[in-house]
Symmetry: C2
Subunit: 773 residues, 2 copies
């Protein structure tokens, strides 16, 4: 755990330079706008520890998977989010010495990520080896309003000299991924062009061995202007070209104490959105447009877009700056990663903040992210995320066929870019078929929240039927138990592998079958539409439904009669049942124990049985939840970022306030405080939606039942108050939870009825309802 | 399955060239002498399908393991048996055209591996593109008598022309492994030297990232002479040198119909046996020695060494040429792979016949190979194999420590070169801790066969204690079962992974603990020696023995009361219990099914419960064996080469003659007939010892009980008779099993008592005892 970031309500602040933590800070200070993004790298050269990262949404490379001995059903490739053209670069040289903070004497340094505005500001005062001192101030953003562009204001002030400096704003595509197999580069150059003060570089990804993966082209463009003494300066420039590189070198005379400002504008246009033959022309037009608007106008548009987001989504926590900073940090990065405007995109586990994990779509999207977008964005955002899976149904069916399933059974991938499975992690990932259930659950979740039942007939039912077909083939009848069993799976708790009858997976499978049968009944109200779907899927409703009902009625669930708890899997009670406090000095076990020891131990990486009890809470009474919580939570090491948030929600429900707060801090400040010692790799983006849930569903106690919003808020004693806004059924509602009362403000123009602590409360349009506690 | 090899009692014959099967033939016709070996490649250039392979015992490279996400306890490297200098090469060129069978018109071709002599002979009559015809006859061997050398007689006869030809006998170290990560080469050149008609090339392996692995040097040397018209020809030579290559080019005038013979002599000396600074000098001296002896004298010495081996080890089967060829093929390759003279060496799964699997030591050595060497070689050979493990005890303790064990617990590696674990196969190999038990069992097996109880005090006990310590930590007390359990293992049946309470492993663990306690009692007869051992291991005999006894008394063994069979593992009965004949069109499942489907299925790769019942047969009555055999064998796909042999032994014991014969053919002709479609990768060397066991322990019914040899032979109806020789207690006994009688011949000079079909038979020295059936 680290503690070098200043606590602040709106900003992430590094006071003084911490080169030893630079890669952590780069992760924390990442910028993005859903279309492109980047780590908080410096503009000028930096030869110290740094992970350079620029990413363009939807652009990736299928790297051959690494494996000892190949077995059928393994994914062919590991999809890598690739480091793209570095467009922020501005090389600065004085008397032949490159400006480089790692080589300079640092006199002053401050770096601020302003989450309210979505900007990154940095001020560095340095002394070069030559003794010359200067101040560099940079200010940049990835434009939320013009989402294929970014802009930088880069100001240089000589502190103890006047003289010539050389600057070279550039585009550099000669980059690689740190995790590539042997340092291979994934980009080839297509074309490049320079003109006075501008440059264009078109790159394309290397052709891979898999023809299902396209070659991507990205055209990056830049244009810059220079201001001295508050006026545009008419400079001369020298084009610089090399392999996958364009720059524009300028010699400038700078004056002691006077600021020279470079405004650099850049775009990244991808062949996902433009015809390749139009990429360069479109880039030039885009550059011209933003150049003409200028830095301040672009910044205003960007800030307005952020203001609109915060107006809808902000969570305000009073009396606890660390908690406030934590939650905003999570919301901020979620918003940067995915805007929901493009149904082809999804939410990568590291967003635009790092390379790790590969792929962009995990079950995290359905289990953690959809609830966030349901409450904080137009319903089309969550809908797009569902449609994304619908569009990949055929690939999911092919994926299941590769594993030996048939008859239209679908197994969605655990990790994917385009619907194909692309993980590289056999020991855990291979058998995590529970993701298939989360995809079905998200359909339920969406409809429950939005009431949009038409989704079923439009897109949902064929996904549900195909997933149910998978479950019905994946179980088998145990003659011994006279029940259906499900063998050889890995549950959400990835510290187990290849277990039998994982309770969560079994439960989710049966739930999917039940929900699919209900969905069939609903869609059948329109017999024509149903016939169309059934015919498209060659679905025999009678025989398949009968089989499913038989499984529903005869599924086996491991249970401990003595403790009255569900068993995570068969044989769980054979383990040595220890608690986390007995192994304090061994944590984190994923860094201190062998994989073999972890597998045999009782210790749980993330909620498993409890994840199921969270999903299906109405199926279990509070005492059952308490027994299971009390049994499993003490064995849970929360070494997955997806774990603490679920525990916040359940602990609140059980009145375990201290545990809830402890878990909240862990999830909210996971990255800022580097709890798991891995923030340098990038941020845990998808778990940030879990953090949001931990406030809204946890402390806020929000649920949607029978088309109505329910709240049963609990104010942690460490907080003076907290408030949040929720979009629901076209209304925007603000909930303020104070020490003495809960205030519900209806910010929309129609009355709403909510349920607060088991009482219906009518809140008139534009009014506030106050309920004392 | 293929059927292009001519059936012959002593030879493996390819009549006519089969380029499509060339890599299979190269595997089948491999030569070796325990110190070096090679695949049956051609001497001259061959541009068709070919896997070039030359290997030097004990020389390898630690290639970085490939893995998705690293976890603690994974081996750092995958030990590769590396392709070494090609010393057989003779380049032949006529009018600028290289002789290359892939580019020539083949008029006649025959290739013969003579297993009696250990020689490879080939005759090729070809027509070049120029229309020139010639005959090439080559004859070579890896010398069993001078085991760092080989020799080739290479005869060229022009068939329709007289004229100049160019020959260039060479040493080529610029080779790579087919399975290297990215085609990297593992050799660097140290020095090279040429002289008239000779050349020397010293190579060393690249420095690796692991300082526990030495850099190896090998100096290869060659010298050749040329005969025309039966007389040595005084030729002129031109040295040829390039990167890791030395040759000696000679222009010769050859005469139509007249043979020109090149005798090429070569040595491979390794830094494992010589100081590096002496390698070159030693190579020159060695070359001079064998050159002076000449081809015929060397061949005579080589044949004599083979005659001696066959005299001890031959199995003669009459009336079934395929079975005869099969068993000799197995014995021949075993003898080529390991001679037992060097305690640092062991028996690689592919021997000197291919690259696959890496490592040289698996549990195959203990479970399959030791019985072969016990009966067919001096007892020091088996003893050396045991001592090999003893010498690696410290590494086994370190290996266990890496996984979280302590107090001197030892876990021997599943795959090793130098005692360090070096597999790259997490999904299966990681948890196959049963190998530890096989290493203990081999100590018992050796002492039971040889009566050499002194081995315990000398080397055995510390290995046993250290392994027992591992088992006692690897089990845990299940409060639920009130028994000890063993979680998270993989048994011999590698079509399961991470199972709980694998019956075989649990049984083997308890047996080890019992045997160790017995061994302690035996060694304690010499209290001083015992005290010395106990002190060296910091062994507290009272407390540790007590703990072991508690485990022995309270171990859990999965059992099905209804069927009265041992259960392969917990939950086995939850599987859909099918039989192999229900999935005929799906075989082999490892090529047709996904790994996921294989894991969930009931199908068994190789004997697991039955492996245990074979090891500990006296613990179970015949009816228990029958029930388990009848339950498991129908589910067994025998897709491991180690499986059929165990079934031959058990089927014979149960009187299942047809099954025994079916399994025998499968094991004996596995490679010759390419049953598993993988002979091209190399031969299944260690399973060949299983083939030998299937005759001796299976059809021969040999056992050693109470220091006495037992036999209860069964003659398969397909055979007229079979006979074999067994070394036991310093005596050599030949058993002939005929239709009407069993003849036991005592070839030694002292009387022996054997037990034949439950009757003691005294066989006087030099006499034959005949017992009618």
């Amino acid at each position: 755990m680290k503690n070098y970031i200043t606590h602040d309500e709106w900003c992430v602040i590094e006071e003084g330079f911490h080169p030893e933590y630079n890669e952590i800070t780069e992760s924390l200070m990442s910028l993005g706008n859903g279309r492109m993004g980047q780590r908080g790298n410096f503009e000028e050269r930096y030869s110290g520890h740094s992970l350079q990262g620029n990413y363009v949404a939807g652009v990736w490379f299928p790297d051959k998977t690494r494996v000892g001995w190949w077995k059928n059903g393994y994914p062919n490739y590991f999809a890598k989010v690739i480091n793209a053209c570095n467009w922020i670069g501005i090389h600065v040289e004085i008397d032949g010495e490159a400006v480089d903070l790692a080589e300079s004497n640092i006199l002053g340094f401050k770096r601020v990520l302003n989450m309210k505005d979505g900007t990154l500001w940095r001020s560095s005062e340095i002394e070069l080896k030559s003794g010359k001192r200067l101040k560099i101030e940079s200010y940049r953003f990835c434009n939320m309003a013009f989402d294929e562009s970014g802009a930088i204001k880069y100001a240089i002030t000589p502190l103890n000299f006047s003289g010539e400096i050389v600057i070279n704003p550039f585009l550099d595509g000669d980059v690689s991924n740190r995790d590539s197999n042997h340092g291979e580069k994934f980009w080839n150059e297509v074309e490049k062009e320079t003109a006075h003060g501008e440059g264009y570089l078109t790159l394309e990804t290397r052709k891979s061995a898999w023809d299902t993966v396209p070659v991507f082209q990205v055209c990056s463009g830049m244009k810059f202007e220079i201001y001295q003494d508050g006026k545009a300066f008419d400079f001369k420039s020298l084009p610089v070209k090399s392999e996958k590189f364009v720059g524009s070198e300028v010699k400038l005379y700078v004056f002691e104490g006077e600021e020279t400002i470079i405004y650099k504008y850049a775009v990244n246009l991808s062949s996902e959105n433009y015809k390749t033959e139009e990429l360069l022309t479109a880039s030039k037009a885009y550059i011209d447009k933003i150049f003409d608007l200028g830095f301040e106008a672009l910044l205003d548009a960007h800030k307005s877009a952020w203001a609109e987001k915060w107006n809808q989504n902000d969570i305000i926590i009073k009396g606890d700056v660390a908690a406030q900073q934590g939650i905003r940090f999570n919301i901020f990065h979620l918003e940067q990663t995915y805007t929901g405007e493009d149904a082809r995109l999804n939410i990568g586990p590291k967003g635009f903040t790092g390379e790790k994990y590969g792929g962009v779509t995990y079950w995290d999207t359905e289990a953690y992210c959809i609830p966030f977008y349901l409450s904080t964005a137009d319903k089309k955002v969550a809908r797009n995320l569902l449609v994304y899976r619908h569009n990949q149904l055929q690939k999911a069916i092919e994926n299941a066929e590769k594993l030996g399933f048939s008859g239209g059974a679908a197994l969605y991938p655990m990790v994917t870019m385009n619907g194909e499975e692309c993980h590289n992690e056999w020991e855990i990932t291979f058998e995590e078929i529970h993701r298939n259930g989360a995809i079905a659950y998200a359909i339920y979740d969406y409809i429950n929240y939005t009431g949009d039942q038409s989704y079923l007939g439009e897109y949902g039912l064929d996904v549900l039927i195909s997933i149910s077909r998978f479950w019905s083939q994946r179980v088998n009848w145990s003659t011994d138990k006279q029940k259906y069993v499900m063998l050889g799976v890995t549950g959400p708790n990835e510290y187990e592998n290849n277990v039998n009858n994982n309770w969560y997976t079994n439960y989710l499978a049966v739930w999917t079958l039940k929900y699919t049968l209900e969905a069939i009944d609903l869609v059948r109200k329109d017999e024509n539409r149903f016939a169309e779907i059934a015919s498209g899927l060659a679905f025999d409703v009678t025989s398949e439904s009968e089989k499913w009902q038989h499984i529903i009625d005869n599924m086996y669930f491991p249970y401990d009669e003595e403790r009255q708890v569900f068993l995570q899997q068969d044989g769980f009670l054979d383990k040595e049942l220890l608690t986390v406090d007995q192994i304090t000095e061994h944590r984190p076990i994923n860094q201190k124990w062998s994989w073999d020891r972890i597998l045999r131990s009782c210790f749980i990486k993330q909620a498993d049985v409890l994840q199921g009890m969270y999903f299906f809470e109405d199926d279990f009474d509070l005492e059952a939840l308490r027994r299971n919580f009390d049994f499993y939570e003490p064995m849970t090491v929360h070494e997955s970022s997806l774990s603490p948030c679920v525990h916040v929600i359940l602990a609140n429900k059980l009145g375990k306030n201290e545990k809830a707060y402890e878990m909240y801090v862990r999830t909210a400040r996971l990255d800022i405080d580097d709890y798991n010692n891995d923030t340098e790799d990038g941020l845990h983006i998808t778990s940030m939606a879990g953090t949001w849930m931990s406030v809204i569903k946890g402390f806020g106690g929000m649920r949607v039942k029978g088309g109505k919003l329910h709240f049963s808020p609990v104010l942690p004693e460490q907080w003076e108050s907290f408030s949040f806004r929720i979009g629901f059924g076209g209304s925007l509602i603000q909930i303020n939870i104070e020490k003495e009362a809960v205030l519900v403000e209806n910010l929309s123009d129609k009355d709403v009825v909510i349920r607060l602590y088991d009482q219906d409360v009518v809140v008139e349009a534009g009014k506030v309802a106050r309920q004392s506690k």
